[in-house]
Symmetry: C2
Subunit: 428 residues, 2 copies
Amino acid sequence: MKPVKVGLLGLGTVGTGVVRIVQGHQEDLQSQVGSPIQIDKILVQNKAKSRSLAIDHDKLTEDAWEIINDPDIDVIVEVMGGIEHTKAYILEALAQGKSVVTANKDLMALHGPEILEQARENNCDVLYEASVAGGIPIIRTLVEGFSSDRILKIMGIVNGTTNYILSKMSREGASYEDVLKEAQQLGYAEADPTSDVEGLDAARKMTILSTLGFRVNVALEDVAVQGISSVSKEDILYAKRLGYEVKLLGIAERQDDQISVSVQPTMVKASHPLAAVNGVFNAVYVHGEAVGETMFYGAGAGELPTATSVVSDLVAAIKNKKLGVGGRQGAMVYKEKKLKSDEQISSKYFILLHVADRAGVLARITQVFAEYEVSLESVLQQPNPHIQEAEIIIITHDANKAAIRKVLDSFGSLDVIRRIKSMYRVEG
Amino acid sequence: MKPVKVGLLGLGTVGTGVVRIVQGHQEDLQSQVGSPIQIDKILVQNKAKSRSLAIDHDKLTEDAWEIINDPDIDVIVEVMGGIEHTKAYILEALAQGKSVVTANKDLMALHGPEILEQARENNCDVLYEASVAGGIPIIRTLVEGFSSDRILKIMGIVNGTTNYILSKMSREGASYEDVLKEAQQLGYAEADPTSDVEGLDAARKMTILSTLGFRVNVALEDVAVQGISSVSKEDILYAKRLGYEVKLLGIAERQDDQISVSVQPTMVKASHPLAAVNGVFNAVYVHGEAVGETMFYGAGAGELPTATSVVSDLVAAIKNKKLGVGGRQGAMVYKEKKLKSDEQISSKYFILLHVADRAGVLARITQVFAEYEVSLESVLQQPNPHIQEAEIIIITHDANKAAIRKVLDSFGSLDVIRRIKSMYRVEG
């Protein structure tokens, strides 16, 4: 039987995992696609470097174009990372009729639509399961499992670093700074943690998930992003006392034809399945019209989970090619994008205020909420002896984002309010 | 393009859902398989019955063989239920080279190996995603997502009725009898709830999941089954106080080549993702060697979730047929079955004893544990004024099932022990 020939771009930890799985599970893989799978050429930075992997030296090359332009190669697996160069390789590979499997979330978040369009035009696939929540088959589930359903909401814990930090703050009552430092020492957070803790990594993944879920080209700049660096241990303590956990949630919602996508620290009701997702784990919660509530939980990263996802995509790409149904995924983004305005984005909010401890304060505050038609679910006032002020904790009913902003603006001119200590979106 | 012709056995709620989805999503489905999908003949009990569905009356038949023996029909979808007759239809359909999609867990749990073998011999598929946890693509995930991994453990909340009952007992402190009665009124439990509450339904599903996960023919009689009818509200209260929830868990484990499969009420640590699965929801937790811990959560049943699963299987069956890779799933059961003995099945246990309230009792009890080499993680003794006796709550370290049984047997001859109030396996 004629083997399927694969070109591999990158031989780091994930690339090595891919080679190991393809070599070690040849029989299983062959039974799935109907012919042998052969990794024919591998792009490396340095051919001379010694490697732990038993691999034919002739297969290595330092020239990506040698792989892209090889007419014998059927599928490209891209696990080298990078944006501009990598994009050029992938676009040309697709132009030559090669399907592509990639683990590159940055590339797909930034240039996904262009790449998928190129794939569609050439009847090829670009599959990228490993780019979001490495060990969870969430993209396949959104595309195949929900193909006959209509997705209403996607909520994701899609960044392991921030979930590790928030879980540990919650469990141990530790401060953000202390836990971040420890996470850096353990290798769970990078030396420059900005991309993770400011929510950018999560936003890229939500771009990908919401594009797939809603069949609309969501761009990174459509996502309202807020990170976790301002989350205090006191906030988490309050949340717990009220029956919530604080999580960095990506939230994508659709109502009729309008969508909104955001990433922010959110209070999640303890009884919601997302509240129990701790440590470096990822989870994606999907609400479909037919299927109802579902959630997919697992490792967000790691060499083997990621390589396993890449190989599953490789199998799917080969199957589609042989069936003559390649390039359909790109075509699935067919709806016009209509973003909700702040007036249309509705949710519950938690607000913690420090106020002067005297009569009539609560009345003045609740009056502001009434003015902007924000109704309240619960209000708790208590003295705080440490600061010689009172604390007021408010949870609103569903309110729109614009009204909440107006309420907070009005608080600025209310002298009885010493400070707006914190505010969180509330879910579940 | 020549359409794929489907024969549908059964037009109840799920069958109607299947027709609706195939009609309503024709374009999406065609883009996945490369040709139109046409439901050509439908088996009903009574052709004359009026139906809500707009369907060509000529397609209906009361004779299953008319569908099975029709050479133009490529795939059979079985949503009629039943065992012996249904099995005969499916075996003959496979013999004629037709792939089969079924939602019939009873059939697959009892005759799965024979049916899958017949499929393999005829290069056809039998797909049955909808038979376990209707809205969760767990079978596809075990077969495809884990194809290059090795599954070590599967734990499932796979029966919605019992999970509804236990969740409600936990949340409201209500008794088993009261909640069961209410569940029956709401239609969440059947008039004769035996199959659900005694764990038989869960055992059938665990038979299916463990067969797939371990590539071994697990039979229903290999599953050690205990139901929830003896779970008291006091047990649940104790569990909560110690940081656990009581869940009816199916547990399938593998160590080297040996497996064990069981269903029993289990105390699950509150921090474990399974502990947060409440109400009629289902969840399956899978621990794979490469991918680590994953969990899949969603609706366990319901017309639309189930029909959605059936249609996804239909798409997969058609794809495999066109690729010429049908019948591989049956071949995946290739390992010899070796069941663990009770001496080899190890876990933690919770034991609640009512004992005489006098000196030296605890010493005599802990001595029995020591005698059978069961070590203890925690021991709590407290007076119980209601019964004028003391209560002793013990959580063991990992201990084998045989040793625990011997300990309990020895307690029978210990006069200071008034009664063994309850015992639970502990997970998480």
